[in-house]
Symmetry: C2
Subunit: 642 residues, 2 copies
Amino acid sequence: MKNSHYKIHFFPDEVAVDIEKGKTILDASYKGDLFINALCGGDGTCGKCKVILKSGEVDSMPTTHISKEEKEQGYVLACRTRVMGDLEVLIPEESRLDKSQILTSDYPQFPGSLAAVSLGAEQFKRNTLVRKVYLELSPPDMDDSMADYERLCQDIMVKADIPLEMLTTNFTVLKHLPSVLRNSKWKVTATLGYHGSSVEILEVQAGDVSAGNYGVAVDIGTTTVVAHLLNLTSAETVDSEATYNSQIKYGDDYIQRIIYAEQNNAMEIMQESMVEDINHLISTLVKRNNVSIHDISAVACAGNTVMTHFLLGLDPWNIRKEPYLPSASFVPPLRAEEIGIKINRNGLLYTLPGVGAYVGGDITSGVLAIRLDEAEALSLLIDIGTNGEIVLGNKDWMVCCSASAGPSFEGSGISCGMRAAKGAIETIHITKNFEVVYKTIGNVSPAGICGSGLLDCLANLVISGVVDRTGNFQKGIDTERLRKTDDGYEFILVDKNDTATKKDIVITQADIQNLIRSKAAIYSAISTLIEAMGMDIHDIEHLYLAGGFGNYLDIRSAITIGMLPDILVSKVQFVGNTSVIGAKLSLFSEDAYKIAKAIASKMTYFDLMSNNKYMEEYISANFLPHTDIEKFPSVAEELKVS
Amino acid sequence: MKNSHYKIHFFPDEVAVDIEKGKTILDASYKGDLFINALCGGDGTCGKCKVILKSGEVDSMPTTHISKEEKEQGYVLACRTRVMGDLEVLIPEESRLDKSQILTSDYPQFPGSLAAVSLGAEQFKRNTLVRKVYLELSPPDMDDSMADYERLCQDIMVKADIPLEMLTTNFTVLKHLPSVLRNSKWKVTATLGYHGSSVEILEVQAGDVSAGNYGVAVDIGTTTVVAHLLNLTSAETVDSEATYNSQIKYGDDYIQRIIYAEQNNAMEIMQESMVEDINHLISTLVKRNNVSIHDISAVACAGNTVMTHFLLGLDPWNIRKEPYLPSASFVPPLRAEEIGIKINRNGLLYTLPGVGAYVGGDITSGVLAIRLDEAEALSLLIDIGTNGEIVLGNKDWMVCCSASAGPSFEGSGISCGMRAAKGAIETIHITKNFEVVYKTIGNVSPAGICGSGLLDCLANLVISGVVDRTGNFQKGIDTERLRKTDDGYEFILVDKNDTATKKDIVITQADIQNLIRSKAAIYSAISTLIEAMGMDIHDIEHLYLAGGFGNYLDIRSAITIGMLPDILVSKVQFVGNTSVIGAKLSLFSEDAYKIAKAIASKMTYFDLMSNNKYMEEYISANFLPHTDIEKFPSVAEELKVS
């Protein structure tokens, strides 16, 4: 018996999807490549996937996330609503993921970025991981009857300065070599792939095609995947593209995804999903730039340890169980084709090495990008996402840790929170008279608040005196914006008449506590790490902020709420997507890739969870900015003045 | 429309084969795994595939190889006779290939073999190309959270003394590593495969299974394929097995096979045929010895350059065209599975390196086996087959050449010639009264003469005065054995009443000229090589005879006819199948394999064809033993005495 299928029309996208009876509206949206926010992975717990049902029959499960008022307007949770007939569905702005805000560029919009410097040719020898060498072999004759393969190897040795005993190859090359050499009149281009202690002749092509040598650097984030197309001959970035990580549908953070994969025996699905994202990015990049997929012989991926495991199809189970072990931190170069990545069929996949279960190749990449491993002065690298990874050190030593900040800076767990997408409030200012000034991404009517907006909001709430240093609303203030609901107090940031959702944008007492917990996790990680090394915050000469969120936040706000320590703003630098930068540096330079390995070996992982001090610090940090205001003299000054 | 099929019954084997109408009897015999002698590859030119048609309808093409008398007895050429109905076919003894005479043992039946010595543990460090190392990893805990793969690598580094940076692995190992480690309580066996400049972790298994480490050494001859099953843990040979090279059906010598493959676009067929032979041998060996195919992780193959090309599926076209180039002489280790060899799925295939188009890995193997490359005294290695390969040198230098001896020593082109199979005359003595004493293989009625018998025959013909030193019959001698036919004179060796074929076994004037040409090719190669190096035959301290034919011949006869130079018999050693010995040594010792590569690099190929002196020498050698009898003082003495 065949199951019935129904047609779902999504608006305003005007996308129609055929789907089986009984599937959810969320399933249908994925089928239509529409990204609906589903932070919890479709469990019905986050309440982010609200859509408006315009017409049609559904079977909707009860939820506390939809108010009576919303229900009347047709709101349902996409993940809890099963399709029972043809439907018309409107996806409201605030439920939508939007690609526009993914940080594709490796350079942040702030000037003086160190990352820009580190990409200079002066940093590393320009010996790409995969290179193409044009060779004019001397044709054989009766006095020189060396076999084809050895003739080729001899010339490669001379031209590319690679010892003979390091050279190896594959069946495909050996099979086609005689005809390629003769058809090309002994003028060929050899593609050489670095394997560690050996160099593989990946391909031999007729004529001089050495200019057509491309690579792709990929940052595999939990939320976003960013790819850069590189011209390996000129060592230039040709183009970049980004997409949401399709695994979002299986859970917002990587622990949720491991659980999903384990419970549903879905490792293959997780892998395919990621490979498809990468293939999609590569295919977009090559089409847009008129590059042949055949000319891409290398992909370098940097990601956290779990993402790397999903990509390679390696067991991630032990990552979430004591003593928290990856299957591999140093993955040797492998044939990209073997996991389904569509580049040259003999092309190689390089993986940036990680330090452990919670500090992955993206962080090694970050250290490489800013050369923290060569810094004279004590430096701190902070990459803030769902997890905040922190590296402290200089050229002599490096320690790193990872703190679970939770997804509140990505809009999850916050009543009006949203991702940094169009319509999100990204900067906010609250005056002494409790007036609210804000700016949205895309300068449209606001639909919610994203991470940087939340940071600003919290900082301004404390400076303006709306909340006290414990984060509690000051009930006595003279403004109608503070109101009491059934769930407690909330502060109205934007009136419903001015919003895209036609609902008030508010921040609640619960939201504030969530944000404080997130910022406390990061601050206490930083301070515990610094203290454990017998240092003081004043010893830090450079603080580098990396990652998508890190590039939009206001440093002063971050200090005011006590997420970052009280440090001179001039010491702080935004360094952009250092994950993709490290992957690029590796592709451009075998030396850089080797250094990445040395960095990963050299970094000591510091486990916060098994450190008693961390919990103490964390509790002390559950204040604005901190229980000990003396640790934040600039904020003490700010609060006095205001 | 479906073609008709008919049933062919072969006798005395009692094998029945179904075959399509229009196919030849030879095709049917291959289908039934019956080896009929077809030296020319089914071209109708050699006349060796005579069978007797007992009943049934055929379409037989005319041939000069079947006499009127034979025709009446039902004789047809299997390759020229098409099946037009159900048949009964008798395969006579002399048309049959028999596996009994293939030299499977690496030690010849003669004592004092150097080959036996060279296999001693004292020769090479016992570090097998693929080894299994049992590891007891320390289980991880919160203070030691190194990833699984690095934990494994660390232990391998310590236990197997392999630098970390040389270690690499494959997807399969990475995928299964976490579960194998945990299920085995961190006690595992790692299989390590030598790749040149890197070492691949081929497999990781639970528990201590390091004893189950087997390899297979293969000698791929043009005519025969020999395989030895090796226990790599104890460095012992477990068993050996041999078979005819199934490619025989496509031509007797390798040039014919290249032409066949080229004309019929049959490279894949040639490769499959060879892979099937090897798989068949391996499967026989593992069954007989109760070894799991999974425990075989390495195969080492030694063969001439053309056989190696067919095995790997590499273009052999340029081997037979000036300037005679192989696709590759040094083939890196490759995954055996990729060409279809059925061992452990991650097992490696090692190929012994060759010198050039006409001196292959079998000869490098031979030099390795007798360590000619370390010899103090000037030594000569001769491997006689369809081609005679010769190596001259010592620890300081080595030159090698290849002479096309033609297949007459394998029985082809000789009227009563046959392979060294049951019923072949292997030794022969002709008395002063022209009586003939002989011995056959298997002590049965004679069916023909094999190589060693032909050598004896020719030597005795000249000593007894039946032929003069030009090879011409002495018409005046007093014996009825010498008779004139339409084709000229012939000497009856065995009367038809005493033969298995019920036909006289004779040697004709044409046969003698063929044999002289063959022996002259070998002798002139030896003497040209020696002279080109400014040496004299007396400078040779050791003469090593290798290969199947080399192990059955009578040295005195070989000197008498002038195939070997006049050297003290005590300087000559039979060294057996040095091709398989070299492959074995390599599997037993990475060092030996490296030395094989050094040997191949060190050997200088000497091209006889472009050397004017060779033709002169060849013409001078077209005498018995030579035009210049002074070069053969012992033979001059022999002829005087006789």
